[in-house]
Symmetry: C2
Subunit: 254 residues, 2 copies
């Protein structure tokens, strides 16, 4: 058992930081003395290491908490993803180093750099994308389903452009359905749009069976992450879409 400053010194963070982590429930000490002194165990140290890994990847504390508190959390898998992300970060740094070198050269030669070259290296979008996927993978409640895994396998092969196109197409369909929200979920046009949506999933993620599709439809209202995201397009769209998918699946199964 370690006292708070021992931990702080060992790890290289401040006592206040540990207080803070306790406050927000990210890392509660194993126990306390009679006087209320915090006592940290070996386990706590391991968790703290995990936290530092996540912090290194610029995850916010709330997300770290969610990830670590997930009962399905797979430490081994997480570490491998950490490694990948860290490598990406390192590569980004290498790019920036190159950019600095280029800039030095451009000054010496008196040439101007193109704007692309000036700022390209700072781009974080790819890293952010992987972080998102990472957070999703580790957070998912349904991370064990085959459909999800197939999805992961497919999506990981996409390039930036592919991905943009998919997202683009996706919001097109969402918007199309949103436009039809004054109709009823069983309306012909609505159902045609739902069919498009299913096809989109099959084309880009995994073969979307009726069963999966039904589950997905439910997920859109049960899971706040999906729900909120969809309702960004149009308030109430998640509910509407979910209902329309239910109708679609009912009909398909006749």
């Amino acid at each position: 058992m370690y006292k708070i400053k021992e931990v702080a010194d060992m790890v290289g963070i401040s006592v206040r930081t540990l207080h803070h982590y306790d406050e927000i429930g990210l890392l509660k000490p194993d126990s306390t003395t009679e006087a209320g002194y915090r006592l940290y165990s070996e386990k706590d140290l391991e968790k703290l290491q995990q936290i530092l890994f996540f912090k290194e990847l610029d995850f916010d504390l709330k997300t770290i908490k969610e990830i670590l508190s997930n009962p399905n959390f797979d430490k081994r898998r997480a570490l491998e993803l950490h490694k990948q992300l860290l490598i990406k970060k390192r590569d980004r740094l290498n790019k920036i180093i190159e950019c600095v070198e280029d800039t030095i050269e451009s000054i010496e030669r008196g040439i101007k750099m193109s704007k692309d070259n000036m700022f390209e290296a700072f781009d974080m979008s790819e890293i952010e994308k992987y972080k998102q996927k990472y957070a999703e993978e580790t957070k998912q409640k349904y991370g064990h389903t085959d459909a999800y895994k197939e999805s992961m396998a497919k999506t990981s092969k996409y390039t930036n452009k592919d991905w943009e196109n998919i997202i683009q197409r996706q919001s097109e369909i969402y918007r199309e359905i949103a436009e039809l929200m004054d109709r009823t979920p069983d309306d012909e046009d609505v159902q045609r749009a739902v069919e498009k949506w299913r096809q989109h999933i099959t084309d880009n993620f995994y073969y979307c069976t009726i069963d999966i599709f039904r589950g997905l439809g439910e997920l859109y209202v049960i899971d706040d992450r999906f729900k909120n995201n969809i309702n960004k397009i149009q308030e109430g769209l998640a509910e509407f879409l979910s209902e329309a998918i239910r109708v679609y699946c009912d009909r398909a199964e006749e």
Copy 2:
């Protein structure tokens, strides 16, 4: 000339960020339209690139502003220091990657890692040290003086403990002088304390000639960085000390 969103998109930052930089005076647009729209020039873009470089090294905006607004700012030199620091950061990342690998292995083999190995890689102190030196080097108005360079050469050799002792002794002397502030600057005891101060500089930084000492005394009230720092000990100490040094130097030169 670019409008704000053009810049934001080109660089990959938000419009709000540019607003913010304008607010705090870090990056003011070259000009504005009649309607008050911000217009950014090529020069502004170059400066923005510099800002991003500094941000990549986790300098805070205030420090970046100070550095960039220094008329002696040497872009070329700065870029080289950037490069060095970035390389250090990359190496740190590499260490962390190794640490992740080790952790994976330790899990597989069921062995425990030593605490040192668990947390060593996260250490930022060396990078921070270099950052400090960097900030000092680029900020100094008197960075060209020999006294300053000698100081740099000496200080860079100190270990943490040495450094603490020096700082300790320094504030002792400051405090001693602060205690004497009810006397006049030419008071015997005050002058003795000033002598101690000069000796301290000679012992630890560089041979402090009367000329240098006189300049230093002026610096304490002219340069806000020194002034504010000294006045933290006691309001008005900077002015008092400065005057006492003037008296000291006048007497010494007779």
